[in-house]
């Protein structure tokens, strides 16, 4: 199964290269999405946790959650993409390159999640940068060049620093000579604390760049805003998760080694800084795609805070990650609908969405309600649990700041969504988009809201996070 997920995209690239047909692109991407989804479900149902050591890629209790989230979002994006790209007037060559890049991007993300070796995870995280660079540059405008330059340059520096972290981690391991997570966990107690702590600083800043944590987030708003909407959805809902996953895995080494208090302070700092920066920028935002990008930064901040809290906080982080991926993917895809209808990303140029396209406007409002953690959104459970954990650990000031910043973000989002949806519109006539540009968002939101009412996987997640 794992081999199929990892080998298919390479064969698919070959097929796209050989069969020079304009439609083959979408067919292959959709086919890979289906195969990915089916394989992921099968892997999650009968995973075998005992062969982690032997294989570079394996499924365990934790990564199956990330894998299934990636699969669901990719399937939704693949369906949406077939509608979004329908009237794309790009050359066949450009579309073919788009196909290669999407397949390799998903391949590298899947590899990162399934990898049981820190070194391989690092290599594949680097591969995600390279594969997604073309996707961000797809529109080939002046702005997209600027965005992709920042993305490649900042992320490459981040990844290079993460490699320094891995080297320092290797120094701390003494004679272990292995980067398998299992070995690292089993021997963490005898690692040299000085090098281990230093390595986490580099790994957190390096991989944190990819995750979009402040103060190393500068690429994120530009890249998310300039890439085509399906790609923005993938970047926000899956790529950031992969980076979070690697940090989470490395964080466990510090917990076992008993020097996690230092790491927690760093995570708190970066988490709250992310919340602060996101709230400031969302309050004054003028571009709705950038607004969603800042919202991603905010949510990554929440994940970092949950991870730093430990215990139920980490469980809440994972629940938050699931919810954020589903809802943010839907939000970004709906922003693609708006872009198709109005042909602008400026908030002030968009009014009366409800009279132009009722379905899009409802999706826009529901995505907003979901991301703002209005019950029954699944994010309500996660944010409530994080707040509860904070209060339980007597972080009263921290919880007040947390609530305050979330309220500012909520107000900023509400202001924009309300203005775009219901203000008067006299210029635009009714818009008609294909059903594939609505259906994926409806399904994703439905899952997010149903999980908010009935969440049967709490124990499964808790089980996967033993030791945090």
């Amino acid at each position: 199964m794992i081999s199929l997920i990892l080998i298919f995209p390479i064969l698919a690239c070959l097929i796209i290269f050989l069969i020079k047909n304009k439609n083959i692109n979408n067919i292959i991407i959709s086919l890979y999405a289906i195969i990915h989804f089916v394989c992921s479900v099968c892997l999650c149902l009968n995973f075998n946790p005992y062969d982690i050591k032997q294989n570079l890629f394996a499924v365990d209790e934790l990564n199956k959650i990330f894998l299934i989230v990636l699969s669901v979002v990719f399937l939704a994006v693949a369906i949406y993409n077939s509608g979004y790209m329908k009237d794309e007037v790009s050359s066949h060559k450009k579309l073919r390159h788009f196909g290669y890049a999407v397949l390799l991007f998903i391949l590298s993300m899947t590899g990162t999640i399934l990898s049981s070796n820190l070194g391989i995870s690092w290599v594949l995280i680097e591969a995600t940068t390279l594969a997604s660079a073309y996707l961000i540059y797809f529109n080939k405008t002046k702005h997209s060049i600027e965005a992709v330059w920042k993305y490649v340059f900042i992320c490459s520096i981040g990844i290079a620093l993460a490699f320094v972290g891995i080297i320092l981690l290797t120094i701390s391991t003494g004679d272990l000579n292995s980067l398998y997570f299992v070995d690292l966990y089993n021997n963490a107690k005898i690692f040299n604390m000085f090098w281990l702590k230093l390595s986490f600083v580099f790994i957190l800043f390096g991989i944190g760049t990819k995750m979009g944590l402040v103060p190393v987030h500068f690429w994120l708003p530009d890249a998310h805003a300039q890439s085509p909407s399906p790609i923005s959805a993938l970047l926000s809902a899956t790529l950031l998760n992969c980076a979070f996953f690697v940090i989470l895995k490395v964080f466990k080494i510090l917990i076992i080694a008993g020097c996690d208090s230092w790491a927690r302070i760093m995570l708190y700092t970066m988490g709250f800084l992310s919340l602060f920066i996101a709230s400031v920028f969302i309050y004054h935002i003028n571009n709705y795609k950038r607004m969603l990008a800042y919202s991603s930064i905010e949510n990554m901040g929440i994940l970092a805070i949950g991870m730093a809290l430990g215990g139920i906080g980490v469980v809440a982080s994972i629940i938050h990650l699931i919810g954020h991926s589903l809802i943010k993917a839907s939000f970004f895809m709906t922003s693609g609908n708006i872009l198709k209808i109005y042909n602008t990303k400026k908030i002030k140029s968009i009014t009366g969405l409800i009279s132009t396209d009722k379905k899009t406007s409802w999706l826009w409002v529901l995505s907003f309600l979901g991301i703002s953690a209005f019950p029954p959104s699944i994010l309500f459970i996660s944010e409530f649990l994080i707040l509860k954990t904070m209060l339980k650990q007597h972080h009263y000031f921290m919880s007040a700041v947390f609530l305050f910043l979330l309220t500012i973000v909520l107000y900023g989002l509400l202001k924009v969504v309300f203005k775009m949806t219901v203000a008067d519109n006299k210029e635009h006539t009714k818009a008609y988009l294909p059903i594939t540009m609505y259906a994926p968002q409806i399904v994703l939101l439905l899952i997010a809201f149903v999980l908010g009412i009935y969440f049967p996987y709490f124990d499964t997640i808790k089980q996967a996070l033993i030791g945090y």
Binding site: G119, V123, I145, W149, I157, A160, V164
Partner: protein
């Protein structure tokens, strides 16, 4: 002998910090590649397995041979030949020969980078127990190279200088990886190679695109995307 090469590698950063000619920077990249090869050979010579007998029993020593091949390809092939040649091509196409508008005058840049290198040497002489796990001189110099490169990325004005500083940072990291007595897994090494190779290629392509689109390779041109108007 190995220590002399390490110190020379640190000194190349002073040259890069104190000049504005991009061709000079690229030539220094060639020198850095050669020095890295010499340092790694010096380091490998101390290893027990590094003798010519390893080539007799190829099956057992496959990983070691791969390691040596990797170092040869990485230092000479990629760092000293491929990247400089590619960058020279980009340089000729874009007609950008100098980075004269750095935020800090060259004299001060030289002083500051010297101080960073000095701090690196001082760090190497700290008697901390944990430092016994690695070669302190390599650690000190590589950290100073990484910090100087990051600092130069922030003060230099043309995108090509940024790419060159990025490569010097990668060289610093490569030196740091030599500080570990044992080898990194070969797959990770290949990943590093891929990283440098493709990152430089993509960055190089982007430099050309930026040149086409903006008609100027100043970083300040790349600030159109912002949140306020």
């Amino acid at each position: 002998m190995e220590n002399i090469f390490i110190i020379l590698l640190g000194l190349t950063m002073l040259y890069i910090a104190s000049t504005s000619r991009l061709l000079g920077h690229i030539n220094m990249l060639v020198v850095q590649g050669v020095l890295l090869l010499l340092i790694s050979i010096g380091g490998l010579a101390d290893e027990q397995w590094f003798n010519f007998e390893i080539f007799n029993n190829t099956k057992e020593n496959f990983n070691h041979i791969l390691g040596i091949l990797f170092i040869l390809i990485e230092t000479i092939g990629v760092k000293s030949i491929l990247i400089p040649v590619f960058l020279k091509k980009v340089l000729n196409k874009t007609h950008t020969h100098r980075d004269s508008g750095a935020n800090i005058p060259h004299f001060y840049a030289l002083v500051i980078s010297s101080l960073i290198l000095f701090a690196g040497f001082m760090m190497a002489n700290l008697h901390i127990n944990s430092f016994k796990l690695i070669s302190p001189l390599i650690f000190g110099v590589s950290i100073s190279i990484i910090i100087t490169s990051l600092w130069m990325i922030s003060i230099k004005h043309t995108v090509l200088s940024n790419v060159i500083s990025f490569i010097t940072m990668e060289n610093g990291i490569f030196l740091l990886s030599l500080a570990i007595a044992k080898e990194m897994p070969i797959v990770v090494n290949l990943g590093v190679l891929l990283d440098i190779f493709i990152a430089v290629f993509i960055l190089g392509m982007l430099v050309l695109e930026i040149d086409n689109e903006f008609r100027d390779l100043e970083v300040s041109q790349l600030s159109d995307l912002k949140d306020y108007e």
